[in-house]
Amino acid sequence: MGAYIVKRLLISIPVIFGISLITFIMLNVIPGDPIALMMKEHISTDVVERVRAQMHLDDPAYVRFFRFVWDALHGDFGTSYKLNRSVTTLLLDAFPNTLALAMSGALVSWIIGIPAGVLSAVKKRSFLDNSIMGFSLLGVSIPVFWAGLLFQYIFSMVLGILPVSGFSGPEYLIMPAIVLGWSSAGTIARLTRSSLLEVMRNDYIRTARAKGNLEIKVILNHALKNSMLPVVTVMALQVAGLLSGAVITESVFGIPGIGRIAVNAIQSRDMPLLQGAVMFTTVLVILGNLVADILYSLIDPRIKYD
């Protein structure tokens, strides 16, 4: 098992390198002179000169890229020119909040999504099935930011039982987690249901019935584990989705997470901060994919560990 994880980690290093290359190109090379972009904010010339010197912008692009990678490896993502603080510390402060939000969103989606999907597959074409699927479809279709506003309006402004925004206690996490979790729970529930129904068509399910199993045992003992394979794969892809959702939810609910930092960095044209935020989240996504990969190989014996 260990060897498998080590191998997977080794593979993600070139991927991370690739991502940093893409990010670097998009932020430094394509826009031409990053300082020109910053100038849009009418910054005083001395600040501009300081940043130009600090970022050695006169060196050729590839030199700057390898310096960026070298510094990144030492945990130094440059300094945010707007807040004049090290990008790394800013991100590390914000990371726990995003993690809390993303994890609670993920939990909401798994704890509600999977059982709901199984239930509606078991009770196919029943009222329960239709309502679960309707609710999931709503979750998938609803714009996350709009749902946030709606929740704020109903639960904070009208009912006043939950804080509108901010992040100084668990109760601040309830609405954002639900809003974020609802859409991914919808995806997971729909996928679990269709995957389970698909698996039920296999020959070994017919064998399980021919043994004299109760239908519910056929579903839970034989079909469920097989149906989890595609669900786990989607969970990996969902990590990226959750982080996208987090970006919005953090803005709506004013949660000081990495997403919020990224949005502010864009609005204030703070390139080093944005670059750091993007790198940070993509590494999170890769780790998420790794976890899902390992989960997948735990379920499916056909995948060897060697």
Binding site: L138, L149, Y153, M157, A240, L243, V252, V263
Partner: protein
């Protein structure tokens, strides 16, 4: 090498009824779609929105851009069915005009995404080895970016404009389609009718066009109807974060964003456009689900 898999026996009942299927692929799909109420409602709603977008100038009760400060924040009523916003503009008219941008932003990037994804997916799947490795590694990297963040970075670099939104949403979307099409191509490539074409000496690009692509259509149809709502939602999110459509364009996402400060005393300003987004996205999802069920037998082929 393969065992004597006597396919005829396993599909006894299917074989019996299969023989009398006289419909072509499209007739069969349309017949099952017609029976699916949800898909039909979805289709009708989409049609309404398209008509609304086309005939917006004639339908909209007021001029969406006419600022009239002394009737700010009017409650939804007879005069303004959905009330007015902070500049006294009629919310309903702005939503009607907004449908033009939102539908455009739903369709155009999806088309770009699908075409890039199809070409790269088929090429990667059919040729395999190095081309496959390169294309798939890039797509894995693109998929590692949270899509919204990547779109934001693109908007940051290129600046906010309608064209740039198309580019941003396409850069994000192609990887997903490419992976699906590649998987489909890999399974089709080993099918005997492709081997037969190669045995006849048909050139690879013709094999891709005549044999591989048409058999991906069922999968692509489903993907397309689910890609459109995806990009509508993405654009709305971008606009909400102030990185998408810029004024005076009245994209629904922007309207929600402008209305969020006045949520307490004028909730309709932010909530009404959100409902429009929800309805059109739901409609596409209804249609997409209906299509997937109707195409199910063909998806597994």
């Amino acid at each position: 090498m393969n065992l004597a898999r006597n396919l005829m026996l396993k599909k006894e009942v299917i074989e019996a009824s299969d023989e009398l299927v006289k419909e072509t692929f499209w007739q069969d799909v349309f017949r099952s779609l017609k029976k699916d109420r949800m898909a039909i409602t979805g289709g009708i709603v989409i049609l309404l929105f398209v008509l609304m977008a086309i005939f917006a100038p004639w339908i909209a009760p007021h001029d969406p851009y006419e600022v009239n400060l002394d009737n700010q924040f009017q409650k939804p009523g007879l005069e303004h069915w959905l009330g007015t916003d902070m500049f006294g503009r009629d919310v309903l008219s702005r939503i009607i005009y907004g449908s033009q941008i939102s539908l455009l932003i739903g369709l155009v990037p999806s088309m770009i995404t699908m075409s890039i994804g199809i070409v790269l997916g088929i090429v990667a799947g059919y040729f395999g080895r190095r081309t496959d490795f390169v294309i798939m590694t890039i797509s894995d990297m693109v998929l590692s970016f949270p899509s919204l963040l990547l779109a934001m970075v693109v908007m940051y670099t290129l600046g906010a404009s309608l064209l740039n939104i198309f580019i941003a949403l396409s850069i994000v979307g192609w990887a997903g389609t490419a992976r699906v099409v590649r998987a489909q191509t890999l399974s089709l490539k080993n099918k005997e009718f492709v081997e037969a074409a190669r045995a006849v000496g048909v050139k690879p690009y013709i094999i891709m066009l005549r044999h591989i692509l048409p058999n991906c259509i069922p999968q692509l149809l489903v993907l397309f109807t689910l890609e459109i709502p995806g990009s509508i939602l993405s654009e709305a999110s971008l606009s909400f974060l102030g990185v998408g459509a810029q004024p005076p364009a009245s994209s629904w996402g922007l309207m929600v964003s402008n209305g969020k400060e006045f949520l307490f005393n004028a909730p309709w300003v932010a909530i009404a456009p959100g409902i429009a987004i929800l309805v059109i996205v739901l409609a596409f999802n209804f249609l997409g689900d209906g299509l997937r069920d109707a195409l199910d037998p063909y998806l597994k082929q």
